[in-house]
């Protein structure tokens, strides 16, 4: 590896930081993804079904409704947070006039 690309070298420090923050966000969202669908919807569905909210057994609701809504929100949160992160590190894509693409 050439010297200039060593992680932590002054010029590339931002790359390490950017990537770390991206990964942290990604892992956080994937934990929610797993917990809601596989956790609430499959692994603990029987326990949650004991609770009935608005005619729906809760585990059944998570498996057939709740997890789908959660997925949509997760992607939106990811896109919005990445917008902020890209901007903070100056790697957001802009056209010649400086408008965001």
């Amino acid at each position: 590896m050439s010297e200039s690309r060593q992680p932590g070298a002054p010029d590339n420090d931002w790359r390490v930081q950017y990537w770390k923050r991206n990964l942290r966000l990604m892992v956080g969202l994937l934990v929610v993804w797993f917990a809601v669908s596989f956790g609430a919807g499959i692994l603990f569905v029987e326990q949650l079904n004991e609770i009935v909210i608005g005619d729906f057994p809760l585990g059944f609701w998570f498996a057939q409704q709740g997890s789908i809504y959660t997925f949509v929100v997760l992607i939106l949160v990811y896109a919005l947070r990445m917008d902020r992160l890209d901007e903070e590190f100056g790697v957001d894509e802009r056209d010649a006039e400086g408008n965001r693409l």
């Binding site: 990604m26 569905v45 005619d55 409704q65 990445m82 894509e93 802009r94």
Partner: protein, 569 residues
């Protein structure tokens, strides 16, 4: 001609006229420079196009019917086919968009080697093909009911239309046609769902109101010899529900015809938002489907169960002609209902007809029935055409052009090979569609298992692990694919019904993906790392912009040595 046939013809002809008109107009605009660099397609429109491409006959026609008979266990399809978008948005789409090569074989060809490209092209053909079989069956059911043909005839008509549609060419590339198809299919799905919710519960939002029939549905199901509706793991054991859901999710993320759509966005950011809009549009249908399934089952059990055979509603007679609904001739009253002929129930209803028959079952007017048929065709068409194009481009470009002719073939030669591959695929798909190995949604689930075991691990490692090399990827992909296909063939044909540890052939893709990951990592670790240049290219996938805003380039190495084209053009 009955009122239903009349309205079906009207809606199908009308919707097809709209698709062709839009396609023709967009072509005119295209030559006039409408889509020239930088203009791009709005992410909302792109999202709708992804949704249309994605939601096939399996989603539209088959899924709610399966859920009706599976009850809770139908959640494998609901979560499996939506959760994959989270993986796609977070792990693949933005990075592949940044890389700039858009078919899966193209990407792995650049990232790894020509050998991996060939394996990927083979896998793309195999997966798309399995998937097309499901579409043919779905389209065939629509025609068989509304043209009063046996299923085989319906499949042949659907195949002829889909083939013509795909060969017309270009349509698939024209996003606006798919936006129109999405509009038709979602309206066709939601209108009857809202109407049925209103009729049964008095509240029109199906997502909320289907809760109120669940308790009664559980009681009715048990009365007619079926499993309680909300009870989990009646159709599949817990471990299998887990594995099938995971397999569908990671299969979704690796499907070649979906990934290809993310390069019509103008930026990495656009790819993220496209994924969001796509899933939002998909969720509209997917959150409605479980309600449709519950209402359909309620209607059948409540309306038909305990009725004398001589007094059965009209829809049963009209669907009996297709052979997809059968009444046991030896009984006087319907006392048991099943979706499987082998059960010997008094009334057997095929899963695949429920959505199409639902408006009739609920007694909605004929135009609504016609609209649903048009929606089903839109779903089958948009997906089948996209899949046939993946098959033909993989066969002509990745196999014939790159491999057989080593880059020396004329455009017309490539086109011919592509069309031959497409025609061959249609013929075999018709045979498969007439004698499917399982229900539409299940056939499709096999395609996802194969995708999960081959593409997803190879793509994720290619993006997130710079050290992964061509040998590792080739070994991993072959091992995953071989393992999964072998298990499916063994469990379906060689020793029908046998499984290891209760893992069904639909769920084996998850294990196949683990095999792929493990083999790829071990082989990569024990062979030489990829070149410095390649690793730097992989690193550059991480940063959306080409340059940082203060003017410093994001890619120091690429400036010194221009990016290598490992495939060679």
């Amino acid at each position: 001609m009955s009122a239903i046939q009349f309205w079906t013809t009207i809606f199908i002809v009308l919707s097809f006229t709209v698709y062709i008109y839009i396609a023709w107009r967009s072509r005119v605009k295209e030559t006039a420079g409408f889509y020239v660099a930088g203009q791009g397609i709005p992410t909302v429109a792109n999202g709708a196009a992804v949704a249309a491409d994605w939601m096939s006959a399996a989603s539209f026609i088959s899924m709610a019917g399966l859920i009706a008979f599976l009850g809770y266990d139908g959640a494998i399809y609901l979560m499996g086919w939506t959760g994959g978008y989270v993986l796609l948005a977070l792990l693949l789409a933005p990075y592949l968009r940044k890389w700039g090569k858009f078919t899966v074989p193209e990407f792995v060809g650049d990232r790894y080697s020509e050998l991996v490209r060939t394996i990927a092209a083979g896998a793309a053909i195999l997966i798309s093909f399995t998937y097309v079989v499901g579409q043919m069956r779905g389209g065939g059911i629509v025609f068989s009911r509304f043209l009063n043909l046996p299923v085989a005839g319906g499949v042949a008509v659907a195949a002829a239309i889909i083939f013509t549609y795909a060969v017309l060419g270009g349509m698939k590339g024209i996003t606006w046609t798919q936006v129109a198809q999405y509009t038709v299919l979602i309206i066709a799905y939601l209108i009857p769902a809202f109407a049925i919710a209103q009729t049964i519960t008095g509240f029109p939002i199906p997502q909320i109101s289907f809760g109120s029939v669940l308790a009664e549905l559980n009681a009715l199901s048990i009365e007619f010899g079926l499993d309680s509706y909300t009870e989990p793991f009646t159709a599949r054991p817990q471990i299998d529900v887990f594995l099938v859901t995971m397999s569908l999710m990671i299969g979704t993320a690796g499907l070649p015809h979906v990934i290809i759509r993310f390069y019509t966005t103008k930026s990495v950011r656009g790819a993220r938002y496209s994924a969001f809009w796509a899933l939002l549009f998909i969720a509209l249908l997917y959150s409605t489907a479980p309600a449709v399934g519950a209402f359909a089952k309620f209607n059948i059990l409540d309306g038909v169960g305990g009725t004398a055979v001589t007094e059965l509603p009209d829809w049963i007679e009209s669907w009996e002609a297709t052979g997809l609904v059968t009444v046991n001739p030896d009984v006087d009253t319907i006392e048991s209902i099943s979706n499987n002929a082998a059960d010997g129930a008094d009334l057997t209803v095929d899963n695949d007809i429920l959505v199409l028959a639902n408006p009739e079952i609920a007694g909605l007017p004929a135009p609504v029935v016609g609209l649903v048929a048009a929606g089903g065709m839109a779903a089958a068409m948009s997906t089948a055409a996209g899949l046939l194009l993946v098959i033909s481009s993989s066969a002509s470009h990745d196999f014939y052009f790159r491999r057989v002719k080593k880059g020396h073939a004329s455009e017309s030669e490539k086109l011919l090979v592509g069309r031959l591959a497409m025609a061959g695929a249609v013929v075999i798909a018709v045979i498969g569609g007439i004698n499917p190995p399982a229900f539409v949604a299940q056939v499709v689930a096999f395609a996802f298992g194969l995708g999960a075991a081959s593409f997803f691990p190879t793509l994720v490692l290619g993006i997130f692990w710079k050290r992964c090399n061509a040998k590792g990827a080739a070994a991993g992909m072959s091992a995953g694919l071989l393992f999964t296909a072998t298990y499916m063939i063994w469990s379906l044909y060689i020793s029908p019904g046998s499984t290891v540890l209760n893992i069904s052939p639909e769920g084996i893709g998850t294990v196949g993906a683990l095999v792929n990951f493990a083999v790829a990592i071990i082989v990569s670790k024990s062979t030489e790392p990829p070149s410095e240049e390649l690793m730097e290219l992989v690193e550059n996938m991480r940063y959306p912009a080409m340059t940082r805003r203060d003017g410093r380039p994001v890619e120091p190495i690429a400036e010194q040595a221009p990016p290598a084209e490992p495939g060679g053009v």
